[in-house]
């Protein structure tokens, strides 16, 4: 139990707006071990980013409020800490990188300034030492001519370079946890490959645990050890990466995996159409009753419409929130029919 670095229990973050109550995160539990890479996948609006921001108490209050739950970091509940105490953790022990490297860097300070800020604040370094350390960090994340770059402003760098700077800032204090929220979505594929490789290498060097949030199943398959699939503010499925991709249990995961075009498969001429998931992701203000996926689910049963299933076990470390995992309801209905693989 104690090898968990981070343990989130039943987190609920709601938005109180003029449109009503938006249940962005509605009872998410997850845990992260030391040095592990945990992938969180989901579509836009399913609560991935709100979960990440909640961990660091960065959600805007109002309109959002964490109404329930515990976020245990090394045994301490972050939600119960005072603001100065949270500030001690933020950027020091848990840090975060965001999707859009242009808007998350301050345009009026040099990148050297922005890296040094973290170091002087959390590690009490003198200004000159902090600048030296900044140059070292820039070299570490693979920025050429670091001595010159340290005096440049964010607009003078390309997108990939900016994301490297963000990583340098995030790792400057050797955090225990790095939360990467869509770190490569704004970047080109070749740059994306470089940034992911850099993240994984640095992770190895520093022993940092990484929470990688993305909508791209390919990135998850290549980088994460364990995956959590989120749908409508809830954990739909949780498993080790290989297990999840080879033996998905939740219909949402299955459908999602079937619907993405795969680059390796050579398709036949008559099979031009992709598998479709009908409908759209529900709005957090108007969630359906029962299982949140039931209006789109190909295996929907009566009970799905009225009662929401718990996370049920399929094997030792594989969980899925689906009634079909309950023996009473499955009665052989889905005997592996969704598995395309021979």
């Amino acid at each position: 139990m104690n090898d968990f670095l981070l343990n989130i229990k039943n987190l609920k973050t709601y938005f109180y707006t003029s449109d009503g109550l938006g249940k962005a995160v509605d009872g998410i539990s997850l845990s992260l071990k030391k040095g592990e890479t945990l992938g969180i996948v989901g579509e836009s609006g399913c609560g991935k980013t709100v979960t990440a921001l909640s961990i660091l108490k960065l959600i805007p209050d109002p309109p959002a409020k964490i109404v329930e739950g515990e976020i245990l970091f090394e045994g301490r509940d972050i939600l119960k800490l005072s603001d100065p105490e949270v500030r001690e953790i933020r950027g020091n022990e848990i840090s975060m990188i965001f999707q859009e490297p242009m808007t998350s860097l301050n345009p009026v300070f040099t990148i050297g300034n922005q890296i040094s800020e973290v170091l002087t604040l959390h590690q009490g370094l003198k200004k000159k030492d902090a600048v030296d350390k900044s140059i070292e960090m820039l070299k570490l994340v693979g920025i050429p001519e670091a001595e010159r770059r340290v005096n440049e402003y964010p607009h003078q760098l390309s997108g990939g370079m900016r994301q490297r700077v963000m990583i340098a800032i995030a790792l400057a204090c050797h955090p225990k946890i790095l939360i990467a929220d869509e770190p490569t979505t704004a970047l080109d594929v070749t740059i994306q490959a470089q940034i992911l490789e850099l993240l994984l290498n640095l992770k190895k060097d520093f022993g940092t645990a990484v929470i990688l949030i993305t909508h791209d199943l390919g990135i998850i398959a290549e980088t994460a050890q364990r995956v959590i699939v989120i749908y409508a503010g809830r954990v739909a499925e949780e498993a080790e990466t290989k297990e999840l991709f080879l033996n998905p249990q939740h219909p949402y995961t299955q459908e999602l995996l079937k619907s993405i075009p795969k680059i390796e498969s050579s398709q036949k001429k008559e099979n031009r159409y992709l598998h479709e998931i009908k409908g759209a992701v529900p709005s957090i203000f108007q969630l359906p009753s029962g299982c949140k996926f039931h209006p789109r689910c190909p295996y929907v049963m009566d009970i799905c419409k009225t009662q929401e299933p718990d996370l049920l076990k399929n094997g030792e470390r594989h969980l899925a929130r689906c009634w079909l995992l309950n023996k009473e309801y499955s009665n052989g209905k889905r005997n592996g029919s969704y598995l395309d693989r021979g």
Binding site: S44, D188, V189, T190, G218, T241, P261, I263, E264, Y273
Partner: protein, 325 residues
């Protein structure tokens, strides 16, 4: 023997678009950004040609040039036997009936103050195809075709989700029964589970109307799924073009190889041998001579720094612009 040119619907020949960088006190062009620098490409009837490349490589500019939405610096686009840049204003107007575009962002490409019925019906009215009740009936059937309901006619774009908006954009594009549609990143703004719906819609419409598509995207797996042939662009030129299975199985240009190796695969059992992407290199100075890929290429030769390699056919229907072959 039938002539191959009979099937060619549209052909771009040595198309160039250079944008000026203005400077000095008189704002004169001091240098030129060669956004599109000599593209030759043909698209056959009923064919989908994919155009892939990273951001800023000129793929959208190419799409716009082919529709004459912008004027080229030089080159020609032959559509149904005529160079579209030679056409008069009236002829252009009828050309618009044959060529359409679907944009990337369904949020900004639809007028927020027009109803969906107005948006889809506008081209019908402008081209004097139908008005009044007849137009309304046509719009209804168009909405039906793209998977929307007739009652959606009176709603505004903000009432729709991203996927539905893209359907509206597609309904508008097919309203005039065109032969050719440029799809500029049609699914990149959409959620993963919605992408398949839109891709399938595009395929179904192609089968029904025998459309030709130019599919512009940075997502190689989407392009691979929908295209017959794929052209890879880098810094304003096409570096490789081939039938899709050939391109993915046997990429010859170093850039195509890099690009394909960089795509993360959603199958954890596949272990790819990653060719090392050259790290930390400066990207090309846009004013430099020679091959645009030289700074990132592991096989750079002296020749690459002197002259730009030209596209040549190395295998049947497989063209590359590289001195290695």
């Amino acid at each position: 023997m039938e002539k191959e040119t009979d099937h060619i619907l549209i052909e771009a020949k040595n198309l160039k678009k250079h944008f000026p960088i203005l400077g000095g006190i008189f704002s004169k062009p001091v240098q030129w950004v060669k956004a599109v620098n000599g593209i030759s490409l043909n698209i056959k009837r009923g064919e989908t040609v994919g155009l892939v490349g990273e951001s800023g490589c000129g793929k959208s500019t190419t799409g716009r040039l082919i529709l004459r939405l912008i004027e080229p610096t030089s080159g020609e686009v032959v559509f149904k036997g005529k160079d579209i840049f030679e056409l008069s204003k009236n002829e252009i107007r009828s050309l618009r009936r044959d060529m359409q575009i679907v944009f990337q962002d369904p949020y900004s490409s639809l007028n927020p103050r027009m109803t969906v019925g107005g948006i889809v019906g506008e081209p019908l009215e402008i081209h004097h195809i139908a008005k009044g009740q007849e137009k309304r009936e046509l719009v209804k059937s168009l909405l039906n075709k793209v998977g929307l309901m007739p009652e959606h006619m009176n709603r505004y774009p903000h009432e729709f989700s991203g996927g539905q908006r893209q359907r509206v954009g597609i309904a508008r594009a097919i309203a005039l029964n065109p032969d050719f549609i440029v799809c500029d990143e049609p699914v990149s703004a959409l959620d993963v589970s919605i992408q398949a719906q839109i891709i399938n819609l595009l395929i179904a419409l192609q089968e029904e109307y025998h459309l030709s598509y130019l599919m512009i995207s940075h997502d190689l797996s989407v392009v691979k799924h929908i295209s017959d042939r794929i052209a890879v662009m880098y810094h304003g030129i096409i570096v490789e073009i081939a039938e899709k299975e050939e391109l993915y199985k046997n990429p010859l240009h170093p850039y195509t190889q890099t690009l394909l190796a960089a795509i993360p695969s959603p199958d954890p059992t596949i272990k790819k041998s990653k060719p090392k992407i050259k790290e930390n290199e400066k990207d090309l100075d846009i004013f430099q001579r020679g091959c645009p890929f030289q700074n990132r290429c592991s096989f750079k030769m002296n020749q690459c720094m002197e002259d730009m390699p030209l596209l040549k056919e190395v295998d049947k229907e497989h063209w590359i612009a590289c001195y290695l072959q």
